[in-house]
């Protein structure tokens, strides 16, 4: 379907578009086109084959359901558009596929001022791929089982807010960007691959990474060759490595929570970052003047990182007594370590919301006890009645 006129196409009932050709099922070249509610099955893959291709401005794609053997939606030189509430999944009906064969869910190239909101993307290569674009809004999308959930390459002035990524190789791969806000996202369980991370920041400048939840990943936040960024109020828990810095300078890292990570943080060639008032649950803390800030500093030992740089398999021995002993031996050059001089005594971002949810779903403790007690009473009563009855 080639659209070169300004059209509004709305599916009133179930409309399915099946495309057996490598050319896009829908190819939009007219500005201001709106397409809503269509189901699209793109059966052909290879190269840049895509279900929907947009090469026009102000296009709106809403509530499409796409199953594709190539890409999902491609935007090329398409500005000021909106992609909302779409569902994009890899077409598994043609047997198993490798990551290399798959296309990206939503793929932008030289396309600025677009809104990408509330889409669900499953089992694609990159969920949302942004290349050479600026001023985008990426909000409340959910991406599962893909290579990189959100992948930015050379992006400027973009907001990535409220997205959820699970079981991807990396939740958000942010590379070569300036002035980006990564806020209130949740990236969990990115750990099935040996190179998994929650958020990876490479060559990132003047950006803000705040209020994200990074749980159960191989590495929570990985920061390399990035400077003048602010990382604050992130909740980093149950990861193998909480935060990792490599050649990252002049970043401000404060008010983050590090809880239950195997290794809280690693830093190499990253001396001039400012850390303060982060909560480290492994740190030995002492608050003498009761201001909520520890008088004892917390230093990040680069030993682990140095150890695995050459031989990654040494990770297997982390937390073994021998490695712990060795790490304490390597403390002589403590001056050069990354240090949080004022660790916080309490969590900066208490997870109240989760606790509240848990309470709502289960019965209050008292009610549960009464039910169990009454059931026991009933069973014992019945046993007594029946056993007495049998004696007579």
């Amino acid at each position: 379907m080639h659209i070169d006129k300004r059209l509004v196409i709305e599916a009133l009932e179930q409309v399915v578009l099946v495309n057996d050709h490598p050319a896009p099922a829908i190819f939009i070249q007219a500005d201001g086109v709106v397409i809503q509610g269509i189901r699209i099955i793109q059966k052909q893959g290879g190269d840049e084959s895509t279900a929907v291709s947009v090469q026009a401005d102000g296009v709106m794609l809403k509530e499409l359901e796409i199953r594709t053997h190539g890409y999902g939606i491609q935007l090329r030189d398409a500005h000021g558009g909106a992609l909302e509430g779409n569902y994009i999944a890899w077409d598994r009906s043609q047997g198993p596929s490798t990551l290399g064969e798959k296309g990206n869910g939503i793929d932008l190239y030289k396309s600025s001022n677009n809104l990408i909101e509330q889409n669900v993307i499953v089992n694609m290569r990159d969920g949302i791929y942004l290349d050479n674009s600026k001023d985008l809004m990426i909000a409340d999308n959910r991406i599962f089982g893909s290579r990189y959930g959100i992948h930015c390459m050379y992006v400027d002035g973009t907001e990535i807010v409220g997205n959820i990524g699970e079981n991807n190789i990396t939740g958000a791969m942010i590379m070569g960007v300036r002035d980006v806000i990564v806020s209130s996202n949740s990236f969990a369980e990115q750990r099935s691959n040996v190179n998994s991370q929650g958020i990876l920041l490479y060559d990132v400048r003047d950006s803000l990474v705040e209020k994200n939840v990074l749980e159960g990943n191989r590495v929570g936040i990985y920061l390399e060759r990035s400077r003048q960024n602010e990382l604050s109020y992130n909740s980093i828990s149950r990861n193998f490595v909480g935060m990792q810095f490599v050649s990252a300078e002049d970043n401000l890292i404060h008010y983050n929570d590090f809880v239950g990570n195997v290794i809280e943080a690693e830093a190499t060639k990253s001396e001039s970052n400012q850390l303060h008032q982060n909560f480290w649950d492994m740190a030995a803390l002492l608050d003498l003047n009761d201001d909520g800030v520890s008088e004892l500093s917390y230093a990040i030992n680069p030993f682990y990182r140095n150890l695995i740089t050459r031989i990654p398999a040494f990770q297997l021995f982390f937390q073994s007594p021998g490695i712990h002993f060795l790490s304490t031996m390597a403390e002589q050059d403590r001056q050069g370590w990354t240090i949080d001089p004022s660790p916080g005594m309490k969590l900066n971002m208490p997870r109240m919301d989760l606790d509240a949810d848990a309470d709502n779903n289960s019965l209050p403790e008292g009610t549960f006890l009464i039910i169990v007690a009454s059931m026991l009473l009933l069973v014992s009563g019945l046993t007594i009645i029946y056993s007495r009855g049998s004696k007579e």
Partner: protein
């Protein structure tokens, strides 16, 4: 005496031949599940843009883009390198870095936007330039003087990694904005080759 000299020279030739014939630094195949670029951490795709350094220790370092391999050399020097490999754009065969012919244009889309592709013979490279209508033919020696700029048209500033690992900002030059327009015209074409 003469026989002795002949025998010695024969032995020397033999040693030289066996020495050359011994391919000590073989390239490894790309495994997309585990291989990440040593420099930029991105997954290395089993495509024509992948490059590889085999160190003298026999360790294989893989890169997703020729530019990342160059960056590694800038950081670590070339002393430990046993052999450098790039891939032929057409059939993905591993070829020695020094023997390959290169084509550069800012509009060629490569994983890290360095815009360089490699060919095992000059003819194929020339053919590629003819097909694309753009491209600058380069030898490995000429790459030594290459600027290694990444194509980032959308950024307010062009960023370029320097040898010291520091990033420096360079405002758009007239030349760069020219290549932008040029690349615009060839977008559709170059997208077809993009592997990422």
């Amino acid at each position: 005496m003469k026989k002795g000299i002949i025998a010695i020279s024969l032995m020397l030739v033999l040693i030289a031949v066996t020495g050359c014939g011994k391919q000590a630094y073989q390239p490894q195949a790309i495994n997309e599940d585990v291989d990440v670029c040593v420099i930029c951490n991105m997954q290395v795709k089993d495509d024509a843009y992948a490059t590889q350094i085999v160190t003298k220790e026999g360790k294989s370092l893989k890169f997703d883009d020729l530019g990342c391999m160059n960056e590694w050399k800038a950081q670590n020097g070339t002393e430990d390198i046993g052999m450098e490999y790039v891939r032929d754009y057409n059939d993905k065969e591993w070829i020695e870095y020094k023997k390959a012919t290169y084509v550069y244009d800012a509009s060629i889309r490569t994983p890290m936007a360095y815009g360089l592709v490699s060919f095992k013979d000059k003819q194929a490279a020339e053919q590629f330039i003819e097909e694309q209508g753009v491209g600058q033919l380069l030898s490995s020696e000429e790459l030594a003087n290459h600027t290694w700029e990444q194509s980032m048209d959308m950024m307010d500033m062009d960023m370029h990694m320097h040898e010291d690992g520091e990033t420096h900002e360079e405002p758009h030059t007239h030349e760069q904005s020219h290549t932008h327009e040029e690349s615009h015209a060839h977008d559709e074409h170059s997208e077809d080759q993009s592997g990422h």
